[in-house]
Point group: C2
Chain length 169, copies 2
DNA sequence: ACAGCCATGTAACTTGTTACATGATTTT
DNA sequence: AAAATCATGTAACAAGTTACATGGCTGT
């Protein structure tokens, strides 16, 4: 529900049209998660269906401007007021992959770990490079920092897996 | 696509029926991500549609046993052989939330950070407690360790956010 | 004239997820 | 006999995602 709520938050600053929302979303989160413009419109329609936003008249340039409703504001407040629980998070594909590699037949777990580490290392280099390039925008900077912190944690976990699997054998 | 591939990996050890698959999946990943039994069947049907698995005759007890196909084995090998890229990962709701809190009007970002930290701290305590309880199973242990590493990284990131936001103001 | 961006929207599809119906077997 | 567990399956929906159709406006 990240996109729904993200758009809601952007609309809390005032009415916006679809293209504008994508621009502002990407300005905040950066190149990390590009947002398909089509998805903005599908999401807006569903939010309209759920009473969170309301479309206004088309403006001079024929653009349809959406406004956040009272229900929308309430939902946004609920979102910001409630922390994200562990159970809310999606299944982590990498973790499942390693767990299943341990269980599966004819799979070299150590090799899976090594390959992932190489990829994550490379990603980390890209991220630090990207970070040097971005000087504007607090949000964008924090998003990048989060990616870096997570990649580092992944790296540490992969090392840990290697160590545990080595002494298991 | 974690569940699809997870089931595929479990089936690589030999034919299994739905209930058995859920059992083995949860035995590996533990209580972290409980798997609804209905989902096992929907996923198996879709995998059958895609030619990754094939249902056999019902056995003596009337249980439908699924077998992995050659295509299924190939897909599994591809999965294990290809590392997970940054772009494959789902949007991180917490990161989006903070980025949007910075952008939104009338939202106390610091408060959002504080609340999340309390929740994450509590989760971390639960996780370390759970870790002491689990002595069996390498996979289950690694899954828990991953959760812990991630929660710690999140905690560090939240601290970092607080620091950055403080000097911004 | 045409390339390229601004702008909107829809159809189609995927995976994840749950609620529910149904019955067999096992335990208390 | 009742409760719990084993076991299978379906219907329905949400959310994410992309490909495509359509048209206006702008700069070269």
């Amino acid at each position: 529900m990240s996109i729904r709520h993200g758009l809601l938050a952007l609309l809390s600053r005032g009415p916006r049209h679809g293209y504008q929302l994508r621009g502002e979303f990407e300005a905040s989160t950066g190149a990390t998660w590009p947002l398909n413009i089509g998805q903005v419109y599908t999401t807006l329609s569903r939010m309209e269906r759920d009473g969170l936003v309301a479309p206004g008249e088309s403006d001079e340039q024929g653009r349809v401007v959406y406004t956040i409703t009272a229900d929308g504001r309430a939902e946004m407040a609920r979102w910001f007021g409630t922390p994200i629980a562990q159970s809310d998070r999606p299944r982590d594909e990498l973790v499942i992959k390693l767990a299943m590699a341990v269980a599966a037949k004819e799979v070299d777990v150590a090799e899976v770990v090594r390959r992932q580490r190489t990829a994550t290392m490379r990603a980390l280099q890209e991220l630090t490079k990207a970070k040097r390039a971005v000087t504007q925008g607090t949000a964008q900077r924090l998003v990048l920092d989060s990616m870096i912190f997570q990649a580092e944690a992944e790296q540490r976990w992969l090392d840990h897996c290697e160590a545990v699997l080595k002494e298991e054998r």
